[in-house]
Symmetry: none
Subunit: 225 residues, 2 copies
DNA sequence: TACCTAGCTTAGGAATCGCTTAAGTAGTTG
DNA sequence: CAACTACTTAAGCGATTCCTAAGCTAGGTA
């Protein structure tokens, strides 16, 4: 899951990035409105956290409006120092899906992120499964046929993405843009290499059907049956 | 837009109902958890506003959990008197999409309702069919008479185009400009070749009528009957 | 019937795709 | 500072896919 932060207070931005990365999200940060606008409209994010007051031509509201106009429906959490009702409602009406008044508890932001990410793709479960394979997004445990499997964090992120898109093939570019963050531009080949790693861990040692499948020309998918 | 309110404080419930009806929503009210649960799971609502503390076997959290378990994804706004973070997050994690702490401003509730109702589940044609042929644009699966068919990506793109223009013939130039990208200039003959490939996969092996038809001088079409 | 043209068919070379191995880099740990 | 781990790239291979060329068939017309 890939998240964009647009926040001009570097301290807050960096703290957020760190916290979210610990939750295994791929995080990009932008420190001003113009740059943030460009990123929000060109890169595919699963969620954006945007400060209301920003330097540059675009403030938070402007970015959201521009995004919605461009038919980008990425859920947005707006951060705001102002607490008056009028301010809140203009944020929501502009197209934000939620807002938080600063200062806020990190706990709460994380819960709201989970709430928003839960919506578009089915009900977001803590434990994702496919056949006898299971992945726990909270404890980061992965098992197949009740045997624990050790994955690196990239492998884990990749497997989580595939499980969340179960049954539908994702091509390499899509996978890269959701599993890796902005400054990391990796070659499609990297995905292929990771697929091999994953297969060596979740498929090859087991008797059952191979869960990780290649749909030539369309991408990779995990099939439950 | 139809909204369900589950709230045991009659005064608040009635005030809400009145306010929402003025906004032109159709509103149902339930005053206790058990009754509310029954309504939430049997009637189709576009949104539910549920109090956290309720008399009866089901409290607010219980209702939401039961709804989600029953695969009802109606957006839910939770009302709560408790303002501690722990309480808030359990609500969101249980499957609520938003919450409001009482007392709240009506303005704000209305803005949040608008925010939640705004994101319509995109109803775009995912599965295209013609006769007993079906093509799933998300999973890239193609079937005829329930038998799976494997297509290459070009074949798939071509078939998808024909299905989207069902019944009306498309000539080779039109097909080329829609199925191939702009810089690729291919000969009309290439289309003919691909038509053969498609026929070999979707028509020849099957008993039924040939779906892929040539309209000499006008192009190719897929006919459903 | 002869002719013309649109579409059909086949085969093969070119390009691309995915798999695999090996090796390099950066960061961490003992 | 050596050893290890996680991540990424490079390069070669085999298989599939894409596209073209060339000859063929069939429908329409004079």
């Amino acid at each position: 899951m890939r998240i964009l932060i647009i926040e001009d207070e570097h301290k807050i931005a960096r703290a957020l990035k760190k916290a979210l990365e610990q939750e295994n999200y791929a995080v990009d940060v932008s420190f001003d409105g113009d740059d943030g606008y460009a990123m929000a409209t060109t890169e595919p994010y699963d969620l954006a956290i945007i400060d209301r007051m920003l330097p540059g031509e675009y403030d938070g509201i402007g970015i959201i409006k521009a995004m919605r106009k461009a038919k980008i429906h990425t859920p947005v959490i707006m951060l705001t120092a102002k607490g008056t009702i009028a301010d809140r409602t203009t944020g929501l009406d502009a197209g934000a899906d939620d807002y938080l008044v600063k200062p806020f508890a990190l706990e709460e932001l994380l819960a709201r992120i989970r709430a928003l990410l839960r919506r578009p793709i089915e009900v977001q479960q803590v434990i994702l499964t496919a056949g006898d394979l299971s992945l726990n997004t909270v404890t980061f445990e992965v098992k197949r046929a009740d045997k624990p499997i050790t994955l690196t964090s990239k492998e884990f992120a990749l497997l989580e993405f595939l499980l969340r898109n179960q049954g539908r093939p994702s091509n390499k570019d899509t996978i890269i843009s959701h599993v890796w963050d902005y400054n990391a531009d990796v070659l499609p080949n990297t995905v292929e290499v990771y697929m091999k790693y994953l297969r060596q861990k979740i498929d090859d040692p087991f008797d059952g059907p191979h869960l990780l499948q290649t749909a030539r020309g369309f991408g990779y998918k995990i099939e439950s049956n």
